[in-house]
C-alpha cells in the first residue's frame, strides 16, 4: 500500500511537471468525434477541418509563445455514451487543453456531464444540435458552433410553407437529436398552419424498416420528413418508402445531408429538399478552397463548424494569454462576437497578432460565427435541393 501511494505521488508529480514543461510550447486540443457509428462518413472531414485551423495557427507561430498545436483524435461512436465518456477521460489524462466535440447530441451531453463539468474543461461542439443542450447547466463550459434544432425546426417549416406543402409525415431517429428535432419541426410547422399526419420513431442499425414505412404510408402526407442519419435508419426508411411507392419526395434535415445519400439512393431522390447549418458568408468559400488545397471536402456537413470550433479555442487562449480552461473559457464569447476586426478563415495569424496587441476581433470564420444566449450559434441555413444526384444549394436562410 505504501509503495502504491509513493508510486501514485511520483506519477502525479511527474505528470504535473511535464504539464508545466510543455506549457510554453504545446497546446493539445482533443478532437472527440464519431469516427465510427451513424455519422462516420461525416467525421473525417470534421476532424480535418479542426486540424486545419490548428495547423494554420502552429504555422503562424503567433499563439502564446510560438506554441505548437497538437490534435488528439478520439472516438465517440456518436451514440455510445460509455465509449465517449471513457475517451473524454482519456483526452484529459493525455493533457488536452480543450475538447472539440462531441458530435451527436446524446454523447455530447454525456461527456459534458461526466467529464467536462467535473474537471472544469471547456467543450465546443461543432455539430450537437439538440435544444436540450441550450438549457443544460454547464457552468459556462459548453459552446457550440452549430445552431440549436429549435431554429432548424423554424427554418424547415418556412421552407415547407414556401414550397406549398400542407401536410407531412414525420419520422425521427430514436435519440436526443432526432426527438428534439422532430418536436421542433412539428411545433413550428403546425404554428404556420401545416398538418403533421404522423410522428413515428425508427431505430438505427436495423435492416428491416417495412413496419415503419407501412405506418407512414398509411398516414399519408405530401412528403415524408426524415429526421435521421444518412448512414443509418434514415437511408433505410427512404429506400423502403421509394421501393413501395409510398412517398416520392423527402424533407431532409441536417443529419440527412451528405454526398452518400444521393449516391446510395440514386436518381429517385431528385427533387427532395432540406436544409443544413451553413451560411453564404465570404468565409464559407474561402474555407472550401482551403480545404480543397488540404485535400478534403470543406463543404461536407459540419466541417466548417469544426474549423471554427478549433479556431475559437485558440483565439480565446490568445486573448486570455493562457491555456487554462478556467481563464480562456470566458473569452470565447468575446472573440466570436462584435465589436472588433472581422476575421475570416485563413486569417488566424492576423487575429492572433491583433489579440496579442490587446485589440479586439469579431471572428466570422467559415460559418459567419455569431454566438448567442448560452453560447450557441445563431444559425443560418443552406437550403438544399437534390438535383441530378447531387446536393445543390438553392438559397440561404
Amino acid at each position: 500500500m505504501k509503495k502504491l501511494l509513493t508510486a501514485t505521488a511520483v506519477v502525479a508529480l511527474t505528470a504535473g511537471s511535464a504539464f508545466a514543461g510543455g506549457h510554453a510550447t504545446e497546446v493539445k486540443l482533443g478532437v472527440l468525434l464519431g469516427f465510427t457509428g451513424p455519422i462516420e462518413s461525416l467525421a473525417p472531414a470534421m476532424g480535418s477541418g479542426a486540424e486545419l485551423a490548428m495547423a494554420e495557427v502552429t504555422e503562424s507561430g503567433k499563439l502564446l509563445d510560438a506554441a505548437k498545436v497538437t490534435p488528439l483524435r478520439a472516438d465517440t461512436g456518436c451514440i455510445d455514451n460509455g465509449l465517449a465518456t471513457a475517451n473524454g477521460e482519456k483526452l484529459l489524462a493525455d493533457g488536452a487543453n480543450g475538447i472539440i466535440g462531441g458530435d451527436c447530441s446524446g454523447v455530447t451531453g454525456a461527456i459534458l456531464q461526466n467529464v467536462a463539468i467535473p474537471n472544469g474543461m471547456v467543450m465546443i461542439s461543432p455539430s450537437a444540435t439538440s435544444p436540450g443542450l441550450s438549457t443544460m447547466d454547464d457552468n459556462g463550459l459548453f459552446f457550440r458552433t452549430a445552431p440549436s434544432d429549435a431554429r432548424e425546426g423554424q427554418v424547415m417549416a418556412e421552407i415547407l410553407k414556401d414550397r406549398g406543402i400542407d401536410s407531412i409525415a414525420l419520422t425521427y431517429t430514436n435519440n436526443d437529436y432526432g426527438k428534439g428535432l422532430a418536436d421542433a419541426i412539428q411545433s413550428s410547422f403546425e404554428a404556420v398552419g401545416g398538418e403533421v399526419t404522423i410522428v413515428t420513431a425508427h431505430e438505427d442499425g436495423k435492416g428491416d424498416y417495412s413496419a415503419e414505412v407501412a405506418a407512414l404510408a398509411s398516414a399519408g402526407g405530401d412528403i415524408l420528413v426524415v429526421a435521421g442519419y444518412l448512414d443509418q435508419g434514415g437511408l433505410g426508411i427512404i429506400q423502403g418508402a421509394l421501393d413501395t411507392g409510398a412517398f416520392d419526395t423527402f424533407g431532409l434535415p441536417g443529419g440527412m445531408i451528405g454526398d452518400s445519400l444521393p449516391a446510395n439512393v440514386g436518381s429517385d431522390l431528385d427533387g427532395s429538399f432540406g436544409q443544413i447549418a451553413g451560411s453564404d458568408s465570404e468565409g464559407a468559400e474561402i474555407y472550401a478552397k482551403m480545404a480543397a488545397d488540404a485535400g478534403f471536402d470543406g463543404t461536407s456537413a459540419y466541417s466548417p463548424e469544426s474549423y471554427d470550433a478549433a479556431a475559437l479555442f485558440l483565439l480565446a487562449m490568445q486573448a486570455a494569454g493562457s491555456m487554462d480552461p478556467a481563464e480562456y473559457g470566458a473569452k470565447i464569447m468575446d472573440v466570436a462576437n462584435a465589436p472588433g476586426e472581422p476575421i475570416n478563415p485563413g486569417e488566424l495569424g492576423k487575429a492572433l497578432d491583433i489579440l496579442a496587441a490587446g485589440g479586439e476581433i469579431d471572428y466570422q470564420g467559415a460559418t459567419g460565427v455569431e454566438l448567442i444566449g448560452p453560447g450557441e450559434s445563431a444559425g443560418s441555413y443552406r437550403e438544399i435541393e437534390v438535383k441530378d444526384g447531387k446536393n445543390a444549394t438553392v438559397s440561404f436562410r
Binding site: T36, E40, S41, N174, I198, T200, A201, H202, E203, G205, K206, G207, D208, S210, A211, E212, V213, A214, A215, A217, S218, A219, G220, D231, L235, G236, Q239, G240, D243, T244, G245, A246, N264
Partner: protein, 336 residues
Amino acid sequence: MDFLNAVVALSNFVLIPGIAYGSQLALGALGVTLIYGILRFSNFAHGDTMAFGTMVTILFTWWFQSMGISAGPLPTALLALPFGILATMGLLVGTDRVVFRFYRQQKAKPVVFVMVSLGVMFMMNGLVRFVIGPGDQRFEDGERFIIKARAFKEMTGLDEGLAIKTSQGITVVTAIVVVAVLFWFLNRTRTGKSMRAYSDNEDLALLSGINPERVVMITWLIVAALATIAGTLYGLDKSFKPFTYFQLLLPIFAAAIVGGLGSPLGAIAGGFVIAMSEVMITYAWKKVAGYLLPESLEPDGLVQLLSTDYKFAVSFAILIVVLLFKPTGIFKGKAV
C-alpha cells in the same frame, strides 16, 4: 374497386415485405435449430456466420462484376453464392475442428458451448470487419423490380401501387427450394436419417454404428449453406452491414424458439410468425379501413394498435407467451 385498393395497399405494405422478411428469418432460424437439434447448443455465432458468408459472396460478386460477368436481369450475387457457401463451409468446419471438437471431447455442458460460441462470434465479428469494413455495402445489380408501384397503378388504374422487388421474389423462391431440398434430405436420404437419429437419441445412434463426427461435419456443412443463403438474400433485399447481421441474431432466435428449437418445421413457422407480427401489429390501418368502411364510419385516427417503436417488443412478447404456455414451442421442439 375500393376493396381491390384495400387488398393492394395491404399486400404492398404488409404482406409482401412480411413474407420476404419472414423467409429470411426462417432460413436463419433453420440453421440455428439444426445446430441446436444435433449439436445441442444455441450457436450465437450464427448471425456473424451469415455476415461472413455474405461478405465472401460480395467479394466474388465484385470480382465477377469487374470481369463483366452478369446474370442478366438477376443479381450477379446468385452466381457468386456457391463460392460464398464453399468458403463458409471451410470456416465452419475449421472452427469445429479447432474449437468445438475439443469441448465435445470434454463432454462439456451446453452452457459452456454457448459461451464458446459467443467467443467464436466475436472472432468472426472482427474477421468480417477486418476484411470488408464496418460500413454499408451494396452489391445488388440487375433489374431492381419485378413490378414497380407506379407502373402497377398505370396498368390497373387503381389508386394504390404494388411493388415487388426482384430481391423479394428471389428470396421467396429460394427459400421454398432450399426448404424442400432440406426436408427431402432429412427425411429421405440415409445421411439425413442418421442425422435425425443422432438428434433423437445420441447413445442409440452410436450403438447402431452412426459415426458422430461425420454427422457433426455434415450438420456444419448444411448450416454453412443455409447461413450464406439467408445472409445473401437479406443483403440483396436490404443492404449488407456487419452490425445489422449481428442484430439479426435476436429475431432469428425468437423465431427458432417460438417454432420449437430443434424442429425444422417450427423454425419456418416461427420465422413467419415473428416477421408478420412485427409488421402487422404496428401497422396503421387507417388507409385500408378508409377503403373498406362506408364514409360515415371512416376513422379519423391512424387505427394503429401499437406505435412502431414497439415492434421488437411484439416479437419478444410472443416469445414469452409461447415459453409460458408451450415451453417446447409451436411444433414441439426441445424444451429450452
